[in-house]
């Protein structure tokens, strides 16, 4: 359903972030993208949403297709309509209530009537356990609550794929579990998810597939079983050792 080919991106001439990414994702897969900092995970994710403009390569999500060398506004819009983003720092609309955050895109982009948008919004807030805060403004919420609203907002437009950009890394440890719980619920419904995460609890328990990036390339790609048991590269096992360490310290 998602098909990325030869995707390249650099911020300046020296620093190439993505050096030709090829990635195929099937419907319903839950892909965890891991790798050291600067490996290009977040950039790759943001390119799928065109928040970052790649230089070359192609991206296909469902029937939306874009060639990075000749992107048109129409193609960008089509591509964006297939995905939704959950941000590390939530990026909830500060001037909108929790409910309005969820209904905003329905009303402005999908042109759904206000009444049915709100019904849908309430339904989604119920699912993430935030219905009682519907009328509250984001600045009154905890980090975990904000991210649950962020997930509800991403679900609202019924995208083909939800892109999670380190959804738990800006959270205090006490809030991580509630967000992971919500993600687990969505995963169980068969929605395709691409997740950049350092949260090994998530990677191990939820992901159906792990993609390990290093220096702008996909180094390993396989089931968690494969990657954790016998990684092909030394670099991967090195990274996993470090990540496992952080898992242990989180468990303590």
């Amino acid at each position: 359903m998602i098909s990325v080919r030869e995707l390249k991106k650099s911020y300046d001439r020296e620093h190439q972030v993505l050096r030709g990414i090829n990635l195929e994702v099937k419907k319903g897969e839950i892909v965890a993208m891991i790798g050291g900092s600067g490996a290009g995970k977040t950039t790759l994710l943001r390119c799928l949403n065109y928040l970052e403009t790649p230089e070359s390569g192609t991206i296909r999500i469902d029937d939306a297709f874009i060639d990075a060398q000749k992107p048109t506004r129409k193609h960008i819009r089509a591509l964006r309509s297939k995905s939704a983003m959950v941000f590390q720092h939530f990026n909830l609309f500060n001037n909108k209530t929790v409910l309005e955050n969820v209904t905003e895109a329905l009303i402005t982009v999908k042109k759904v009537p206000k009444k049915s948008s709100e019904d849908r919004g309430r339904e989604l807030l119920e699912q993430v356990g935030m219905l009682d805060k519907a009328a509250v403004y984001p600045s009154f919420l905890s980090g975990g609550q904000k991210q649950r609203v962020g997930i509800a907002r991403a679900l609202a437009t019924e995208p083909e794929v939800i892109l999670f950009d380190e959804p738990t890394s800006a959270l205090d440890p006490e809030w991580v579990a509630e967000v992971l719980g919500v993600m687990q619920k969505i995963a169980a419904r068969g929605i395709t998810m691409l997740v950049v995460s350092h949260e090994m609890r998530f990677v191990r328990s939820l992901a159906t597939r792990i993609v390990f990036l290093s220096e702008g390339r996909i180094l390993e790609d396989g089931t968690p079983e494969q990657i954790f048991r016998n990684p092909r590269y030394e670099r991967t096992s090195q990274f996993l050792r470090l990540a496992d360490l952080s898992l242990e310290s989180a468990a303590l």
Binding site: N49, Y50, L51, R77, R80, S81, S83, A84, M85, F87, H89, F90, N91, L92, F93, N94, N95, K96, E104, A105, T108, V109, Y137, S139, F140, R153, T157
Partner: protein, 237 residues
């Protein structure tokens, strides 16, 4: 013997001065509305770094900031008719140059003046809106215009309110300069009444108080709007 200070005379002329208050407020309100529109337009052109136009806007802001308001008023008063006559001669149009009321020049000059200052306020306020707010909009496929109108500008306006309030207060006070291009408003009335009796000082005291009260009211209005705007934010304790 003539009194040194004549409170009775002062009070008796308050109604006459006050009768020109609507002129002052009218000029301030209309040029204020123009200024807000100009300011927003300029701020957006400069925020998005629109080629050529944003440089022209920077030049405009620099000129307004670097010249006295009084000079700008006089340039508008003498310059716009010259310009229109030139247009008439060149293009064969027939604008009635002499038929334009002086207050129109006053509104143009004050609007352009205040607009330049407001544009700087609004530009910095838009820049202060978190980049993530834009990204969230784009990721949800909202158009740049929807992003501005529904998410970015409402937040920017809250940030901009206190300095915008200052701009409006300055503007209200700067209307006192427009007598220099023969618009009779409150300050002009004070001078006229003063010259009738040579009691200028009393009349200036009267206008000073009227301006002060108007500014106090304006301040309260802005305080109220700001409080409403801040209801979305948790108060830092």
């Amino acid at each position: 013997m003539q009194k040194i200070f004549d409170p009775a005379f002062m009070l008796s002329n308050v109604p006459e001065i006050l009768s020109y208050l609507p002129v002052t407020l009218g000029i301030a309100a209309i040029s204020g509305a123009c200024a807000l529109i100009i300011g927003l337009g300029v701020a957006l052109l400069r925020f998005y770094k629109v080629r050529i136009l944003s440089q022209l806007c920077a030049l405009y802001v620099s000129f307004i900031r670097g010249t006295p308001c009084l000079v700008q008023l006089l340039i508008a008063y003498y310059g716009i008719p010259v310009f229109l006559r030139f247009i008439n001669a060149e293009l064969g149009t027939s604008f009635n140059v002499n038929g334009i009321h002086a207050s129109v020049f006053a509104i143009i000059a004050l609007g352009l003046n205040s607009g330049a200052f407001m544009s700087e306020t609004l530009r910095s306020a838009i820049q202060a809106v978190d980049r993530g707010q834009f990204e969230a909009c784009y990721s949800l496929n909202m158009s740049p215009w929807q992003t501005l109108r529904r998410i970015v500008l409402p937040q920017a306006f809250v940030t901009a309110l206190p300095p915008l309030g200052n701009s409006f207060i300055s503007l209200l006070k700067e209307t006192s300069l427009v007598f220099s291009i023969s618009v009779v408003e409150m300050m002009a009335a004070a001078k006229i009444v003063g010259s009738r009796s040579f009691r200028f000082f009393e009349m200036y005291i009267v206008v000073a108080f009227i301006y002060w009260i108007c500014c106090l009211i304006l301040e309260q209005i802005f305080r109220y709007i700001e409080k409403r705007g801040l209801r979305t934010q948790r108060r830092e304790s």
